[in-house]
Structures are given as structure tokens and as C-alpha cells.
């Protein structure tokens, strides 16, 4: 069993079969979408462009409680991670981002939270047929139907979804719902190829990454960083909403006599990110911070893990309040090389 068809009318039944697991899927919020747990008995609608906030929180929550204790107490309580989860309808770029970030979380030691959550989670992606205006996944090694990071890929063929298992987990899921499925014929495969080719055609914006990872360190003192960052507000939008941004801070917090140790998303665009206790800051202005953001994604990560840590989802560009556009920044980088 690897390519199957699911009639869309059976979609609620498919979702129903997952009962007992936590289901995370895109949900409407005014005119935007975000990933959130699905209430029992509901079937999420999947006809949406990508969400503003990426689904990275399914594996890397914005706030992760690592342990809890009471003032004066002797017990330390560690949360148990055992909730099986299915993420439905995430976009190929966001799944690729998870695969990319996993390299870091599995690097020197296995990060207990990330790795455990990934084990417990099945990622069911949905290929893009209507890419967004600032999508550029093909430029950075992905594509609207990329399967990297996914367990199962769904393609919207109109009346049916085509389901393709990518991993064993995906196969298992297909087996669990097999009475809802029909064998996919050649036509379905051809239809998919056509849709994917069309989607790729619709992606207009591109970046040229040739020579960028090796070239970036040489541009350290280039005036381009001042130019690019002049209008930057130093907010966390481009990083918090980036599916591959994975920096975190660990803080102890108290509420009355209860205390907890949490790790939470952090952002290299924040002033305090590299602020030393002495008051010295090695990245004193937004110029250095912007330079770091681009270098981290397009050079350091490549150096360390052999892959660009940007999947071309376009969120930083869509949502930067002052139009700092990563595609344009990379064009300027190329010009300076």
C-alpha cells in the first residue's frame, strides 16, 4: 500500500478514525489561519493558503515546561510526554523545516523534548496547488509536493485526496484507515504530476543560492547589512514565525510558591539575545542582528549540517512590518558577492 485515494466525503470519517490521538490542524481565525488542536468530532477544512504562525510548535512548543517544583519542597516533577499526535494538512515547506531543525536537536545529544515529540507525532502534509506570492521553496531545495519530513503526503485531486505514504508511520496510518481507501490508478498519479508542475509554474519569486553559503562570511563588513537593516524594528516577527528558527531561552518562573523551569522561543532579532551581564553586547545594533539572521540560515547551518536553514515559506517577507524581504536581501547578497 503506498498510493491510495480517499474520497473527500470520507474525510470526516478519516479524522474520526484518529480518535484518541491529539489532532492538530489549520483553523480559521478571522481572515487568517493557524494550527490548533481540533475538537472531538470536528473535521478541519484544508482549503487554505499557508498559516501565519507555522506548525513548528507541534514539535517545539513556544513554551515547554521542563520541570516544576514548590518553594521549600523536595519533589521535582517532570512532565511526561506520551500524547500521540497527528498534524494534519501542514505544508511541505513546514515539514521540511522540521526535518532540518531535527538535525540540530539530534546533533551532539538527542534533545529529549524534540526527539520524543517527533516520535509521538505523525505528520500528514498537503501538497500546495496554490502557492503564496512570496513562496520560493524550489530555490532552496524543496517544492510544493516535497515529502521530506513528512510521514504521509496528501494531494488534492478535486473529488479525492491522493494519499502517499512516505515513512513506515505513514504506512501504518494508511492501514488503520484502509476500509475508507481505494487503490489509486495511473491517472491519479498523472493528475498529481500535472498539478505539481502547475504549482511550480505559479511560483514566481526565486533566490539564487549558488555560492552564497561560502560567500557570506566574506561580506561581513559589507555596507549591505547597514542598508538592509536600516528600517528594521528589531521585533521577533521574522524569527518567531519562521518554521526553521529554533533558538530558545531557558528561564525559571514563579507563581506564588510554585515554580517552573521553562524553555521558550527566543529571537536573535531581540536586543537582549546576546546581551552579556556586563552590559556588553557583541551584536550591539540591528545591523549585526540582521547579518546574523541571514548568516545563520544561509551559511552557518550549511557549514554544520549541509543544508540551508530556510525553506522558502515566505513568512518573514509576508509579515515583516517594514518590508524587509529575504528574497531581496539575497539578491543584494548575490550582487555583492
Amino acid at each position: 500500500m503506498s498510493a491510495m485515494l480517499l474520497n473527500k466525503e470520507k474525510w470526516p470519517e478519516f479524522v474520526g478514525k484518529l480518535a484518541g490521538k491529539k489532532i492538530v490542524a489549520p483553523q480559521a481565525d478571522g481572515d487568517a489561519m493557524h494550527f490548533a488542536p481540533v475538537a472531538e468530532g470536528e473535521a478541519p477544512a484544508l482549503d487554505y493558503n499557508n498559516t501565519r504562525v507555522p506548525p513548528k510548535g507541534a514539535l517545539f512548543p513556544q513554551t515547554e515546561t521542563m520541570l516544576k517544583f514548590q518553594a521549600g519542597g523536595e519533589q521535582v516533577e517532570e512532565p511526561v510526554l506520551d500524547q500521540e499526535t497527528v498534524v494534519l494538512g501542514l505544508r511541505p515547506c513546514d515539514a521540511r523545516a522540521m526535518a532540518i531543525v531535527e538535525k540540530l536537536f539530534k546533533w551532539d545529544i538527542d534533545d529529549p523534548y524534540y526527539v520524543r515529540r517527533r516520535e509521538l507525532t505523525t505528520l500528514v502534509g498537503l501538497a500546495c496547488t496554490e502557492p503564496g506570492m512570496n513562496c520560493f521553496c524550489p530555490s532552496v531545495g524543496g517544492g510544493p509536493a516535497s515529502t521530506e519530513g513528512l510521514d504521509l503526503l496528501m494531494v488534492d485531486l478535486g473529488e479525492n485526496y491522493l494519499l502517499e505514504a512516505v515513512t513506515e508511520k505513514g504506512e501504518t496510518l494508511l492501514t488503520e484507515i484502509k476500509e475508507l481507501l481505494e487503490e489509486a490508478d495511473d491517472d491519479a498519479g498523472k493528475e498529481k504530476d500535472k498539478l505539481v508542475a502547475e504549482a511550480e509554474q505559479k511560483i514566481k519569486r526565486k533566490v539564487d543560492t549558488e555560492g552564497v553559503p561560502e560567500g557570506l562570511p566574506g561580506l561581513w563588513e559589507d555596507p549591505l547589512w547597514q542598508k538592509v537593516s536600516a528600517s528594521c524594528l528589531g521585533c521577533g516577527t521574522c524569527t518567531y514565525l519562521c518554521p526553521t528558527c529554533h533558538c530558545f531561552d531557558i528561564q525559571d518562573e514563579t507563581e506564588g510558591f510554585a515554580a517552573r523551569r521553562c524553555r521558550m522561543w527566543d529571537s536573535c532579532m531581540f536586543e537582549e539575545y546576546t546581551l552579556h551581564t556586563s552590559g556588553h553586547n557583541p551584536r550591539p545594533t540591528r545591523k549585526e542582528r540582521t547579518r546574523n539572521r541571514i548568516n545563520h540560515k544561509y551559511s552557518y547551518y550549511v557549514d554544520k549540517f549541509d543544508v540551508i536553514a530556510c525553506v522558502g515559506c515566505g513568512r518573514c517577507t509576508n509579515l515583516c512590518p517594514v518590508n524587509i524581504d529575504i528574497i531581496e536581501t539575497l539578491r543584494q547578497v548575490n550582487e555583492a558577492l
Binding site: 481572515d31 501565519r52 528561564q251 521558550m264 529571537s267 512590518p321 517594514v322 524581504d325
Partner: protein, 326 residues
Amino acid sequence: MDLEQLRKTAAEVASREDVKYLVGWKPGTYGYRVAPAFIENADGAAELIFSPLCTANLATYLTLVEELPVPRGQEPDDRKIALMVKGCDSRAVTQLLVEKGIERDEVVIIGCPCPGMIDDCLLAEKYPETEEPAEVKWDGEDFLLIRGGEETKVARDEVLAEKCRLCRYPNPVVSDITLGEEVETWELGEDQGVKEIEGKGVDERAEYWAEQFDKCVRCYSCRNVCPLCYCQDCILDRLNPTWVNRSVNFSENTAFNIARAFHLAGRCIECGECERVCPANIPLGKLNRKLAREVRDKYGFEPGVDPDAEPFQASFKPDDPEDFIL
């Protein structure tokens, strides 16, 4: 507004010896985006524009300036910053003057009387954005959208930004140079957003804001874009003591949003930037405008209109109403 005149004036100002740089607007890189422009010499002025897409309030760049320690033997660069302002933006500058966040001789203010700006989200709903940068012009009462050589008339009512619907000061309240003619003020609609909130009962209101604050990702875009959020030591960044935990949950998010709203009561000049930039779509304007309304009704104070006013939160009159104090 005549773009030639704008660029000529900007070129003159940017080349003045006592001006460090000029901040204005330039075309963005795609769709309906417009970007802030930092102009250091006469040549740079050629890219400046003033169009219905120049919604952003650039006054925030007066307080976002990053000053590194001056190396020994060097003089600090005290030249002025020149700034292009619409009516609402000029109120931010005025409020900064009132609070002594800036001094009058640190800035050159180029006033742009403003016929009203577009909410690019509303525009995109009607006319989906494309990767090609579009141009928009004022066209009598309405707007003209120009892209791919095609012109489309867009009705004012359909896309006018909410802040502009409610704007009482489209003409800059303070400026050194004014570009073009003053515009006539327009009839104000009712503040539907605030009215809607006021129409809710206490529980319903609490529920409404709980749902909103729950979405907050604490990116602090709203704070960073706000021309009047410029405390050097912001309560949110403090770790010792920690006033607001960094954990993102409903309780901390609420503490943050309420703290920010109160710190801006009597200071917020309703430029709408916080709401525009919020990636979580939280209607921050309703909160700020409600507080602004309370301050106006109770104390007769309106921020950012009189550079000689006493700052509201730092002044006291014996007959100030205090019926809200329990």
C-alpha cells in the same frame, strides 16, 4: 501631492549639513508594500514617494536610533533627523516633544497633508496581491490602483484604513516644511470597533479578550513599531524582578497586553501601527482607542496635538475625576 516637489524638497533637506539623514517612504519589493527609506544625500531622494500605501508611521525611527558609545577622541554625531509625517505621524512627534523623548531642534519635520491611507489587507481582499509591486494614487474621492499597465478605480469606502476613517487630524499638527495644500477634514464615522466592545457585558468582554490574547505570540512587534513605546528599560524585558514572565500563556499574555495598553493611555495617538503589524491579528486598536476615549471624556485630554501640553500621566489637577478608584 506633486512628487517632483516632494523629491526636490527632500533632496534639499537631505543635503543640508545639519541633517544626518531623512526618513521617508519608497516603493516596496512586491504587491502593496511600501518600505521606509533612509536618505543620506540628494541622489537618494529620487526614490521617495507619497501614496495611499504610505500607511506606516515613521516617527518610530526617532526613538529607535541606536547609539553606540563614541570612541575616545571622536565627537558624537548630533545632526538632525529629517522625517516625513502625515497627520497621525505628526501627532506622534508632538507627543514625543511633550514627553521630552526628543527635542525640537533634533528634528526637521516635513509635513504631508494626508487625504487618507489604504488598509492593504482590505485592498488585497478585493484585488489579490501579485508579486509585481503595484502603484496606487488618490483619484478625487477614491483611489486608483495601477498594475501591469492597467488602471482600476477603487472606492474609498471599501479600502480606507480604520485609523483614517476616525482621523481628526489629517493635516500635520507640527512641521517645518509643508508639502502641498492642506486637505479638508472629512466626516467621521462612528468608532464601530469600540462601540462593539462597549456593547458587550463584562463576562462577554473578558471572553472576547481572552480569545484574542490567547493568540499573542509575544513577538513584541506592536511595541517595537509604536512611536510611543520607547522606554529604554521596558518592563517586559526585565528579568530581575520579572514583571511579566516570558512564558506564552493566557495569563502572561494578558498581563503584557494590559500593561502596554495602560502605559499608552493618554499617550497613544491612534496611528494604528500596532494593529497593522500584529501577526496574530489581534485588534489592538480597539483597546487603545477605548482608553483614549476614556481619557478624552474624563480628563478632556488629547495626546499629540499641543506641543506645550503637560504630559497627561505626569500631571495632576485637584478636580481630576476619581470615581473609578475603588
